[in-house]
Symmetry: C2
Subunit: 363 residues, 2 copies
């Protein structure tokens, strides 16, 4: 096993660099700042694969003219509590927050708001969106499809994205409950990390190009696939596949985006799908007004109780007992706001490469 070296940067420096890079390609300052905020949320919450580690991919896409820097994000159909939004091929990090805002505004006016989005691309971490909803005493939901990487149960090839689901609930004195989970057994970033370190994968994470179970990260990366949450039929792999399907339909079929194996690739090295069934990828945002159901403070008091009750669970032997969803991310954020964001050297090199090409200063 090789040790992974890192360099540490203050979050403000990373935000400012990201925003300048987006502006370099013609994105308005307000939108560029918004997009940088979304990336920063990932780095702060230690979902590092979705932070500035992805900036070079956005950079490549802009350079190739594959992202519209000045999109007209528009509502193409709506009811008092639903809307379909066309992202006009803008940056997902800009389209996402704008569509989420529409869901929140509808919730404030009509009790709930549900927005399906087409013609967009990678929107960062799903958790960012549900944290925005918390600020308005709304229960926020966020989902998105992504480029195919996952086999359906009993499938021998990639057909679905990692299709995450996020939802958050505010507390009064405790930290909020924040759920943000891919619908796979394990994140692709963990496979990449194992590959970098020369380690084997646990069973249940992946299949190889022949559709056979594998613990070799190279076999997964080279034409294999991730397995859905539950991994096998015996342990509920059909349920992870069901969840991925749910996300796919709500984000894409409902909006007119490309679902399943037809999601366009985001990274340059990925193959182009055999056909197109819609525009771009899709997201799905929801917002529920808490006081549409119950007094918001009463709800939050109950969440405090809920959190304390779960923490008081008898621990399984050899563990410190259950966490509350969002604990690891909130802990990471508390530390990283103070000490900065550790970036592995390959990511630092990518940012330096962007700096050289754009003449925007970086360290």
């Amino acid at each position: 096993m090789n040790e992974v070296q890192t360099l540490t940067y203050p979050i403000e420096k990373l935000k400012s660099f990201s925003s300048s890079v987006f502006q370099y390609f013609g994105v308005d300052k307000a939108d560029a700042d918004l997009a940088s905020d979304v990336l920063a949320a990932a780095d702060l919450r230690d979902i590092s694969s979705h932070g500035v580690a992805r900036l070079h991919t956005y950079f490549d896409m802009f350079e190739l003219g594959r992202i519209n820097p000045k999109p007209k994000v528009s509502v193409v159909r709506e009811t008092p509590s639903t809307a379909t939004v066309d992202g006009d091929n803008g940056l997902g990090l800009v389209v996402g927050p704008k569509a989420n805002r529409i869901a929140m505004d509808k919730a404030l006016a009509s009790g709930s708001g549900w927005v399906s989005v087409r013609h967009t691309n990678h929107f960062g971490i799903a958790g960012y969106y549900v944290l925005q909803a918390l600020k308005h005493d709304l229960i926020g939901w966020a989902m998105t499809n992504s480029t195919k990487l996952v086999a359906p149960l009993w499938g021998g090839e990639r057909r679905l994205g990692t299709n995450p689901i996020a939802i958050a609930f505010p507390a009064l004195k405790e930290r909020p409950i924040v759920i943000d989970m891919a619908t796979t057994a394990a994140a692709y970033g963990k496979v990449e990390m194992a590959r970098r370190k020369g380690e084997q994968l646990p069973e249940g994470w992946a299949i190889d190009a022949q559709g056979q179970p594998t613990t070799d990260p190279n076999q997964m990366v080279q034409g294999g696939a991730l397995l859905p949450l539950g991994s096998t039929r015996e342990r509920g792999g059909h349920k992870g596949y069901c969840l991925a399907t749910m996300v796919d339909v709500l984000s894409c079929v409902l909006s007119g985006a490309n679902w399943g194996p037809f999601a366009p690739p985001f990274a340059l090295r990925q193959e182009i799908p055999e056909r197109s069934v819609g525009k771009g990828i899709g997201h799905f945002f929801g917002a529920l007004r808490i006081d549409g159901f119950i007094d918001a403070d009463e709800f939050k008091r109950q969440i405090d109780d809920y959190v304390q009750t779960m923490r008081a669970t008898k621990p399984a032997p050899g563990t410190d007992g259950p966490l509350v969803p969002g604990d690891p991310e909130a802990d990471a954020e508390a530390i990283r706001r103070v000490v900065g964001i550790p970036l592995i050297l390959p990511v630092v090199e990518e940012l330096r490469d962007i700096s050289r090409k754009t003449k925007i200063a970086f360290d």
Copy 2:
């Protein structure tokens, strides 16, 4: 392994018997028929643990006066697209359909409808509710909490119910996509069946009373717990725990029902919770108007394509390839409508016992 003997009954006979039993306790005929329909849906779809196999438990609860046969199901708070419903301690099989109807009506009027329900009890299969929504070109959602049976990841005791999630999407020519899944690695019914047959459980399903992993079904049943979907930290057990939490909060904290370990027991042999934090258990229903987002026929055509695309996936070695969510249940229903419902002898004996006590004829 012992072979399990069954007797087979036409569904209409089981429905008529169930309805008569509910009416025996003072439930109106219309409500009794509705409740019997929900039970029948479980038996038809081969989710047999939730069909007439549970009638004796409802019978016991009525006999003890623990269910209100003539509930006033009321809306206690609402907005155009949300409502909180109090089930007045009625039969969950009656409260559920009425609350689901409110969600559907709100969706037809405002684009979406979201209803959280308190003061209710076991509502049958979640899949029943989302199938109702399909009839109105709505995307239906249904969730419920239930008596504690599941450990949170890293917990050594029962703290959560099996908390199922259902959602369905209509197709044009293909069968609909119908998702109905507990948020556990495996259903409790499968543990019961293994116990009856004297078989071991697969790894990843359960822990014993000390919180240690076990493959002995007796150890799970006698004070142990089921594990959430994903089973272990390595394979994403925190995600199953997150999903169970989501269902719990939407169904109970939002409505004012008893969440987590405080859900009241439904079966007589289960322990009474240490405290009460609300009324009864809780459900959560949602409905989204498809044409609030996209032309409904266009949506259904895409679902046809989706279903055909998933079926065309390269099969994993040794399998026939992926199913589409809802396939096993729809296959079972097609057969069972014709040949009848096979009931294991212990269930037949329970129905005969009800027949003796109520003088309602059964076989």
